[in-house]
Every structure is written in structure tokens, then in C-alpha cells.
Symmetry: C2
Amino acid sequence: MSPTGDGARPGEPRQPELDRDRFPVDPWRLTELRYEPGDTSVAETLFAVGNGFLGFRGNNAEGRRAHEHGTFVNGLHETWKIRHPESAYGFAEVGQTIVNAPDSKIMRLYVDDEPLALDEADLLDYSRTLDFRDGVLRREILWLTPAGKRVRVTSSRMVSFPERHLAIMSLEVTLLDSDAPITVSCQLLNRQDGEDEYAGSGGGGDTKILNDPRKAQRVSERVFEPHEHWQNDGRSVLSYRIANSGMTLAVAADHSIDTENEYSVEHYCDEDIAKTVYSVAAKQGAPVRVTKTVSYHSSRRTPTRELIDRCQRTLDRTRAEGVELQYRKQREWLDDYWARSDVEIPGHDDVQQAVRWNLFHLAQAAARADGLGIPAKGLTGSGYSGHYFWDTEIYVVPYLSYTSPIWARNALRSRATMLPLARERARALNEAGALFPWRTINGEEASAYYAAGTAQYHINADITYALAKYVDATGDVDFLAEGAVDIAVETARMWMTLGFWRHNGDSTFEIHGVTGPDEYTTVVNNNLYTNVMARFNLRYARKVVRAIERARPDAYDRMVTRLRLRREELDEWERAASTMAIPYSEALEIHPQDSHFLEREVWDLAATPEEQKPLMLHFHPLVIYRFQVLKQADVVLALFLQGDQFTQREKLADFDYYDPLTTSDSSLSNVVQSIIAAEIGYRDLALKYFLHTAFIDLADLHNNTADGVHVASAGGVWSALVNGFGGMRDYDGTLSFDPRLPTDWPELSFRLIWHGTRILVTLRTESMRVSVIEGGGGVSFRVRGTTYRVSAESDIEIRLDGQGPVLEGAPSQDTNSRYRREDGSIMRPSMPTVTDSIPVIGA
Amino acid sequence: MSPTGDGARPGEPRQPELDRDRFPVDPWRLTELRYEPGDTSVAETLFAVGNGFLGFRGNNAEGRRAHEHGTFVNGLHETWKIRHPESAYGFAEVGQTIVNAPDSKIMRLYVDDEPLALDEADLLDYSRTLDFRDGVLRREILWLTPAGKRVRVTSSRMVSFPERHLAIMSLEVTLLDSDAPITVSCQLLNRQDGEDEYAGSGGGGDTKILNDPRKAQRVSERVFEPHEHWQNDGRSVLSYRIANSGMTLAVAADHSIDTENEYSVEHYCDEDIAKTVYSVAAKQGAPVRVTKTVSYHSSRRTPTRELIDRCQRTLDRTRAEGVELQYRKQREWLDDYWARSDVEIPGHDDVQQAVRWNLFHLAQAAARADGLGIPAKGLTGSGYSGHYFWDTEIYVVPYLSYTSPIWARNALRSRATMLPLARERARALNEAGALFPWRTINGEEASAYYAAGTAQYHINADITYALAKYVDATGDVDFLAEGAVDIAVETARMWMTLGFWRHNGDSTFEIHGVTGPDEYTTVVNNNLYTNVMARFNLRYARKVVRAIERARPDAYDRMVTRLRLRREELDEWERAASTMAIPYSEALEIHPQDSHFLEREVWDLAATPEEQKPLMLHFHPLVIYRFQVLKQADVVLALFLQGDQFTQREKLADFDYYDPLTTSDSSLSNVVQSIIAAEIGYRDLALKYFLHTAFIDLADLHNNTADGVHVASAGGVWSALVNGFGGMRDYDGTLSFDPRLPTDWPELSFRLIWHGTRILVTLRTESMRVSVIEGGGGVSFRVRGTTYRVSAESDIEIRLDGQGPVLEGAPSQDTNSRYRREDGSIMRPSMPTVTDSIPVIGA
């Protein structure tokens, strides 16, 4: 887990090193075998549990020192007035920050009145396991108390996938050596408005961290206004209204104890805490088991009284059914998930473990988001303030579309509900149609730095792209016809007014003053990624409007009325698309990232010391923007998403140019580089980038896993496997494969759902096998130019003549001397330097 | 004073309309004849008095309702931590805001215990006069009290020019009809930390104003920490330390009464207020005169006890000399000022009045700034937070260099003292040398919006330019040699690392990622103004280093050691200067504002409704930046400052191109447009721009005079007269004239000091006369190619063959159809439009 890179070559990804004594290899579990008091922040993220609605960080049940005591309900946020030190018209005005919901994880343990506190405890044995198959987090410790008594403490924690509002926790204590009084104190604690008396720091205060835009904004005044709170019959209830956003929340907990020992129970409840305390006269060998079932309900406006009722119904049902049934339903739910979603890499259990950890966290981030968005960190931390970004659409929705399409549909519905606010935002920025916010929870723009925020207009095409992925994979035209088409139409309209026809010889449609995915170059003209995706957006809008006209004339008429759609608009969209400015350098035979990118100086990444990375934490934006240097793949991402718009030769040339300029300071970069490296034949490099992505959190490669899981990167793990090594593409609704299996991987298999039919694809070095595992329809697909059709009746086995691209003059792995100037000479990269300090005037 | 423009053509300046019944024409005074309770905010600025160190807004002595009760001490500021909602490395961290010093203007009057409050009072007569010759603000009112008694109230206020720390106020009350008890309550009041009980609003809170970057930042917590305060023998003393900045302040006041009536006096003093209250049993016709002398001293670190001593010495001396002497000294001081500085426009008393009002305020802003900077609003309001900008160097220092050179020297010294911090800032932004802050009080960068702040690297060349102006006008090489040269050298070094040689065919020195003076286009490559000024900076540094080597070998050696100057650097500077990228369009035969300016869409100013101006308050920066539209002259400013680097034909073409794109939303724009319009022969337009500049505050043409005087614009009034109509230039130290007198002006005369010799230049339609009015040396100058030399012995009279440029195909005033595309066709300007709102999805 060393944060030091290997410095091998610019752009080369840091290779992961995981402490396998602490985190052993296991294809179906992440287990921690050693508790490290000084190093819990990352593990809090790695062992987080959640279901897309509710999330718990992997804090100790004892509730003591933590990097961040995190309990998150998707979308539960506070708003605050953004105070720009120098403001301007149209700047985002309302900040939004996910809040820390009342902590129900706390089950404090005292033996002989001595508290168990893991940081100080004498632990004879320790293990913690997150099981990807049953979805339960379990911890077992053997504690030698200060009095010399050995105590076995077994605990578990589960957030239910089938029951969206339910979590179950248990704590079992057994005295191994002698009798002793035991106390178990179960709590619901509002940490947002007052810290736990035992809590530690809770987030750094040094300057560097304050400048880190990836951190959450903190809200300072009281956030949770207390409403009804009470205790009754082992049930505790707290409820709140959030001060500015007006959202409401109720949390309720049931408690039960199972023991042969004598015990008593006490209760305490005020507006910020509810305690249920069991005092047990425990005998040696007689276990004490305390179980806590918790329910959270939240709403934008439902009264808390109603939310409390909902919590009670959830708990009543659980009480009636028993917790064991919940564990079984969780297991069944996950069996089904893995049957749809698993990717197998035989012979590489370490990689297999990392892949499944990522896929498991994708389920935890997306499964029960239902009508809400998928935050950049899921519900595992407050990083990025719980906001929704383009990450979901580009890195997560494609995975969902192919494995759990209803989740993809839900994610897209969350965007559709933002359309009214997106229309308002478009008008505020003088555009037609709809302009989606760069970052948001409630649909309003929350980005307070427009150059790397609002200027990223590409998010509008990204959302339409995700819609297309879903529709292509499912054939769900009704979803489009009944309203989702509005996304495509309104974003197309936005592009039409954002861009303009520039008359300079030829007439080209240009889009100025935008920022592409690469945030190290901002507010440019004709960002290639943006223009290519806008072109797609315009054409897709036209295509689906026509498709609805054919397939659903009734819905078509409603749509025309609803959107005041004019037939000429469709022609204007095509005209803009067909004349779209696509920067190209004849001299370098590459696509410049924007119209003027090649005029910039080249940043010498090889000469940049490690301690000055990531660049954004060590250089003023004005310095970074002045150079050819990338935070993340930008042109290269376009080569992937719109791959049928580029030749193989162009992809090779572009990748060769940009790869050495790419810092991958964004966690989104490596996956894209892996996919295109695989496509153009850099198989070793593709694997390196893939491994970096797969271990980005497990090995904390960006030094910020403590803030939460990189959910988009997790989605990218699947893409790198399926699109990268599997070579799967679905241009314009046609499924195809061109495998590029890593050299030392004997096999790779994955599942896909295509228009309701579930298939299994198994790649080996010499062959590719496709079989239908569920659903009656056959699936047609192409492999290297040949069309096949698999059906439930017969699998298909295709012989492969090796892996990799069929491209003349296949590239070598040696990509040095790639810096060429426009005039053909070799570039000498420079980098910003500071001369020796010069003494001040003596006078 | 209507804020509506005439809409005649885009870019055409609004012509002033002043209510002459309220503000009558008077060449030497500004008089207000009618009190308008609802409209005092602008007048508070117009009638402000100050001396460059201390300034009072024109608030009523009664201290009641005001737009802003302002008492300002130059440089007296509070600091605060800037909280960027999304921060990044190198963003300004310390905000700086001028504070409201304790208000000593207050002299409340009660007759029959009824307070005089102008807003409600029954005023039978009212007049207020600021006299530019004696430097005293006087007010006379005749008040009919509620009891029906007529009371004459005469008051005066003066901030002394010769005595930097002294102000004198008086109030004389005479009962015309009958006897009555009179109370005069003299106060020192800390308004910064608690409002006057009688105070009104004090500044708007609507959203529009919050978005206006020209407003002051407000500081919310207690700012003045009270130190010693006391009263003794009619003297009141308050003293403070400012909480975060640590600055110190003392204010002391002496009070005296002169009356034949019986009276008593009472005192009250706490940490925030000191009162001296005279209760007089006034007889009809027996005047009561109360005089207050006040002294302010402040410091960055001197203890308040010491500052109190200084205040006492100032007051003791004044007490000994008497106030009448102070009035005489003020008059003498101003006689001298006008003898050096006056510009006369016979036959146009209205314009004459406006010109003198501007020149008077220049003295009030600059005279006793001494080692401090000159704030953008002088000391007349808190606009722009009391910060120093480039305005001083480009718009004010040239005027000072030619009329009051010691003030120019002082202003430049204030920059020299910032060099250590400018070096630190350069290092933080990865540059060599020194990088001056875009806006500052204490020398640290306070600009919180880099795109229109830190990115304006041109300020470094602007400071060097001002230094050159001063040295050229005075010949003060010793000032350079003893340290000021460091400014030129360190800024030259900054340019060397900021720019780079781009190899693309020819090798050009390019400067990327900067913002020019026009803040409607930001962070561009090769801003023409910046590059032209950087070229000047590089060459000037080389020139003066060599000059010092020749003239002051001793100082040269010290300089080389101090700056670690290498001889090769001089050659590098010249190489960069000679290969500097200067954007030029062969197709349009104009200089693009930056490398890519012409690729932008053209904003149609003629079609932009008045209520959407200024653009910055009605459009998001991203929208504005996407278009060809200017906040202020940018290329055109370069044509003036570096006029010998451009041909007349280029100036004409550039002006023709940019003038219709220029909104003049910046108050700095009109003066430059006036000067170049005059130079290329647009005499009517030059006059319109000049008149706009001259009346910008008097007629409140930018609707923000309430925030303070536009000091740079005031400097521009002089430049428009002398450089514009007078055609004066001083390229490379050579004085020259090419007059362009407005058609209906019979005469224009102005004074200049050239190397210590004071000359008077008188222009008439057919001739130009130059005479020496002080100093023994002669002065050489050129007029239209011929060299002349004037000496004390003989005036020179030159016949002029008309006014205006000698340029083939002289331009017509018709500048429509000037929009040409690069391909030669006519542009159809577009502007951002918003389509009709579209209904939201019904579902």
C-alpha cells in the first residue's frame, strides 16, 4: 500500500501492492486479519455495507475513534447558500451536502465496566470479513480484558438488499475464563449535530486537504431539527426535519437479547440520542446475544409522523418474520445478482477477489437507489458531498444495462425527474432545451467552480449516451416513448444553441467555451470529446424521435405536443451533426484534444517529482491549464464511447500521443486507457491499467479511499474486463466481440443480458464460447466481421486465431520518442520551474 | 441623470445629463442647491473630502441616514480567510477589506430639543459647495423648526492637504426669530462594529448587488479591538487594534466653542464612542460656533499609545497655530496644485467644472498617499474594498508624473515595497522574478476569481510602464538605480518563465493562459495587449540596466549582486521581445485581441436590451467569454500605450473593428477610446467618449458612483485632454504633440512638468503655443515631425494646418457595416437567445 509510484514512464499506472498478511486472497470475501489502530480510515470504506438507499461505513460497532462515522441515506442532504468570495451572474447559489444520518451502528460493550475500545484493547485474535455472497459483514475478536479475562466478541452487520429500509446488527459476547458483569449499550446517535463523546478527529485540517476539491463541504450550523422521539417496548425512534433543505427523516430500532444469563434493561431517549442498555450478569461460557434491527425512511416532504409509521411497519414485519429469514433472502438476492453479473478469472484469485469486491460495491451503490441517483462514492463516505456526476452515466449505467437493466432504468429516471430544473438552468445560461447540472443532489447546479464544473456541458451528451446504452441493450422503446425521449431531445436543443456555424471557408458547427472530461484543460473551443458526443446526441435524438413515430404513433403525438417539437428541428440536428467541427492535426495525424491544444507547452511528467502529484494539489490551475497535460483520458474516452467513428490507425496514433501526457490524477482515467490499450494491441499496458483500476481502493492508490469507494472506477473494472479484454462493443445496437485476453490469463468469462436473454461468454486463448443461460430468444453478435447467432438450443464455439488487433505495422510496446512536434521534430518536454529564490531589496 | 442609453449604435457612449437646477454650472465649485432625501448616495461620493491618507464621505454632519457612513484611512484594513466553495492550489487565501474608521464627522444639532435631521427637516434654504480652490466643503441651510423658528446652520469640513493627519470641522448656528436652547453633540463613533442608533440601511441586500463584484466585501465579526480611550480638557481619544490584520489606529479630537451665549459642556466616553456635548442658552441673533479638529494616525504595528501621542502632537500644533492658518495653508497648497495641474477649456464652463472636479478628486486620492497605494475609489467609498489595482499605474501615475512627480514616485515606491511578497507569489505560481497581485492592500493577492484576477499578468508590465513614464518625465535615474530598477528586472524575469518559445515554423515567444484588460474574454493565449506590454517590459528592463551601468556604476554593482543579475539575461530578454508573438489577421488587417479571438461568435450589442447591461450582471461568464464582446478597450489600449509600435492605418483598422464590440461596461474604457478616436480622426466620437468619462461620476453614468469616485477614470479625463485632444506622446522619452482640438472648442490649455521645467501648452484651432512658466531648463518637443525647443526666454507659437491625422483615405464617421468576416463577407452578429420556455413533462 505504498503511495510511491514506480516512476517507470510518464503515464504508466502505479501497480498495486496489497498487504496480503492483513488482507489474504479469497475469491469471494474481503477479510482483514489484523487490526491497525493508526490505519482504519481506508478499511472503513472497504468494509462499508449498503444497498443504494442506506449505507454504513465500516466503523467499529463500539463507535469510538474513526476517520469518519458515516451513515448515509441516498439523497438526504442539507442545502446552504454558497458564498463566492467574488461572485458573478449564474454562479451556483445553493450548495448541497449529504448529511450524516443518525448512527445506528453503535453497540458498545463493557466487561467489568471496562469498555471495549479496539484502538487500546489487547486483542488476542481479530478478523473481519465482508462476504460477497451473503452480503454480511462479520467480525470476530478475542479480547483479553485489563482484568485478564478472555472474551469472545462476535458481531455482524447487514444492510438488506431485498428490504430497502432495513439493516440488522448483532453482537454476541462469551466469557471464556470466568464470570463478569457485561453491559451492551445500543444507541441511535445524531452525530451530524454533535460529536460522540468518544469520537476522534473526524477529518484533517491541514491546508492541503482544505484545498482538495474531492473532499466534502462541511455544514456548520445545526442541521437536524428534532421532531418526535420516543422509546417503547424495546423500540427507539428519532425523527428530524433538515433545517434548510426541508427533508425529513425517521429512524427506528428494535432491540432483543438472547441469553441464559440474568439481565436487566434500561432506556434513555432525548432528541439526539436513544439508548437501550442491557446489563447482564454473565456466566463463563454462556453467550449473550443482542440483536438490533433498524429502519430508515426519508423524504423530500412527507411529515416525520408518516415516516415513523413506515419505519414501524418495516420493523414489525421483520419482527414477525424473524431475522434469519432476512439473512436467507439476502443470500438468495445475491445469488441472483452474481448469476447475472459475475465475471470469472480462473487461476487469478487475487484479481478475482478485487473484481468481485468492485462488483459487490456496485450493487451496494446502485441496487436500491431506485428513483435516486448514484453518488460518486456510493453511500460509503461523504467524499464529493454525496453528489451525482456524469460518472454514473458513463461508467456505471452501461454495466447496469447489461446485468441489472431495471437499475439502469431507475438511474435514468432520476435524470428525467431533473428535467424541469435542467430547463431552468439552460435558460439561466442562455441556452434552449435542458442543461443538466454538473454536480447535484436535488437537481440544481451545485458546482461552485464553473471551469471544471458548469463548463462540462458534455454531461448532457453523456446522459443521452447512457440512455442509448440502456435502450440498445434492452430494446425498451416504451421507456423512451413514455418520456425518456425528452432527455435526448432537450439536450439536442441545448447543443443547437450552445454551438454555432462558423463560416471560414467551410461552414462548421463549433462549440466554444466548454471543458471536456480532462479537467487539466478548461474552457476551450471544440473539445473533441464534447463535439463527438454532441454529434452523437444530435443524431440519437433524431433517430429515436423517428423510431417512436414508427413504433408508437400515439406516444409520438403526445411527445410532439409536450415538447412543441418541430419537424425542421430534426434536420437542423443532422445538419449540425454532419458539419460538427472535429479537430484534426494533419502534421501529427492525431486528434487534438481541442482546437488549440497542440499550441500549448508539453508538461514533462517524467521529470515531475512524485511529491508534486497529483498536480491539482501542487500547482495553480492557471499553471496546469497552460500545458499539454491530462488529468484523465479525454480524446481516448471518445475513442471508446464513439469507437465506430474512428479508425484503428487513428486510435493508435491518438493513444500514443496522449498516454504519456496523462497523469491519471482522476480515478476515471485508467479504465479508459486500459480499454483502448487493449483495443490497439498494448496488451501488457492494458493489463497494468486494469490492475490499477481493480485495486484503486483496495490498495488506496489515490490516497483518498478513506473518503469512500470510487464507484465509477468500480464500474470501469467491469468495462475493462468486458469491453477491454472481452472486446465487446454495441455500436448502434449491434453486439460484437473482438477478444484481447491478457497473455497469462487462461480464461475469462462474463454474463450479459441482451434484450432479455442472458448469455454467458467464455474466452480462452484459442477460442470463444457463447451460451444462453436464461431466456428464450436467441442473440446475434459479430466476432471479427462474422455474424453468429446463439440460442437456448445450441452454444456457439468460435476459434480465435490469437488475440489483438489486426492492424498493419502493429505497434511495439516501446512508446518512447512519441513526442513529435507539428513540424515533425522531436519535442523536448518542459515543465514549470522556479528559479532559485532571489534575495529581497536590502533597502 | 437618466440611466437610459440613447441606443444609437453599439459601443456609443451614453451622453451625460446633469440636473443643472440642482448642480449649477460653476468652473471652480460643485454646488448642490436642493437636498433630495431619497437621492443622497451619489452626492455622498461627489462631496467627499480627503487627502490620500484620510477621507470622509459627504455624509451630513448630523450623522443620520446615509448610503454609507464612510471614514477611510488609506491602507487601514482587516484581513479574513477566504473560503472558496471549491478551492484549488494557489487560490488567494487572505481577503483584505478597508475598514470604516471611527466617524468624526458627527456634530448633531438640537433646537428646543428637536433634532435636525435633513431627511425630515423643513428646509427653507439649502446649499452645499465643494470649492476646488480652497479645498473646503461648506453647507448652509435655513431650517424652520417644528416650533416655527428659523435657524441658520452653517457648517464646514476640510481634510488638510499640508497636514496629512488633520481634519477640521465647524458648525455655526444662529437663531433668527427667537431664543431657544441649542445642543450640539460632537461625536467620535466606531461604526464598523455597531451601527449608529439613527443609521439607516447602509447597503443593499438584493441578489443583484450581491453578485456585483465591484462592491466591497463585508466583514462580519468585531473588527476594532478597543485599546486606550479617554477624554480630557475638551480632547477625546479612541484607539484600536484591528483584530486579524493587527493594524493600529488612534483618533483624537479637540473641541471648542465660540459664542456670546451661556453654555455648559458634558462629556461621555466608552470604547466605541466619545461625545462632547454643548448645551447653549442661545439668544436670537447670537451665533454659536463649534469647531472640531481631528487627527487620525494608523500603522501596521506601532503601538496605539504611540499613535495617540502623534495625534496629540498634531492637535497641539493646530491648537497653537489656530484653524485659520490651516485654511490659508490649504488654499496656498491648492493654488500650487492648480498652477501645476489645471487644464483650461475656455467657453465651456460645464465641461471645465467636470474636469476640475476630476482633477480635484485626483489630488484627494493621491496627494498624501505617500508610501501607500491609491485605491480604486480613493478614500471616497468602500467600493472594491479599498484595493489597489493596475488602474493607478496606467491611468493615474502618468498624470502625476507630469504634474506632481513626487506623488508618482511615492506611488511607485509603494509597489517596490511589495516586491518581497510579489516574489513569493511568483514562486507559488511557478514563475521566476516577481508577480504582483491583481488586487491588494497589504501586498498579498486578494483576488478570489483568478480568471479576471490573477490571470491578469499584464499588471506587471503596467507597473513597469508607470515606472518608465515617471523616469522619462523626470529624468530621475537615481530612483531607478537605488532600487526601483528591481521592479523592471523582476517583472522581466517573470515574463521569461511565463512565456515560452513555440517552434512551429518560425520560433515565436508566446504567452498563454492570461487575461488582458478586457475581462469579457479570459485565460487566452497571446493576448495582444499583454504581449505588447511584456515586450515593452523586457526591453525596458534591458535598457535601464544598461543606463544604470553607464550612469551609476556603483549602483550597478550593487544591483547585480542584489538581483544576482546575469549578463545573458539581457540578451534573453531582447530575444524574447524580438520574437514576441503579435496576433495579426491578414484577412481582416487587424490585430486580434488574442490568438483565437476572431474564432468566436460576435455579440450583437445593438440588439441587446438596455436592461441586460452591464452584461456581467446579466450573463454567466461562460456565456460572455464565448463571444466577441469587450468590457473595455484592450487592443485599443495597447495602441495608445505602445502607439509607436503600430501604424496609423493599423490603429484605424483596429479601432474600427473593436469599437462596435466594446460595451464600456468598465469605466476605464471610454478614456482610451476617446484618445484613439482622437488620434485616428474620429473627432466627434472622441468628444463623446471624453464627455462620458468627464461626467461618469457627476452624472452617475455607471449607476455605482454611490460606491465611490472612479479615480482611474478621473486620471483618464486628464489623459483624454492632454494625450487625446492635445495629442501629447512621450515615446521613449521624446515629448511630442499632434493636436486634435474638438471642433467647437476655441481653446485648450494645460501644464506639464518635463525634467523639472514647467510649461504651459495652449491649443487653438489654428495654432499651438508653448511657454515655460517655471524652471530654467528648456524643453524640446516635436510637433508633426518638426522639433522645437522652448525656453524661459522665448515662447513658441506653431501654426497648425487644421486638426487631426494626416492619413490617406481619412475615415468617415460612419462606422456601420464594419463587421467583416475573415473571408471578407459581412458578419451577421448574433447574440445569446433563449427560446420560449417549454412545458415540463406532464408525467
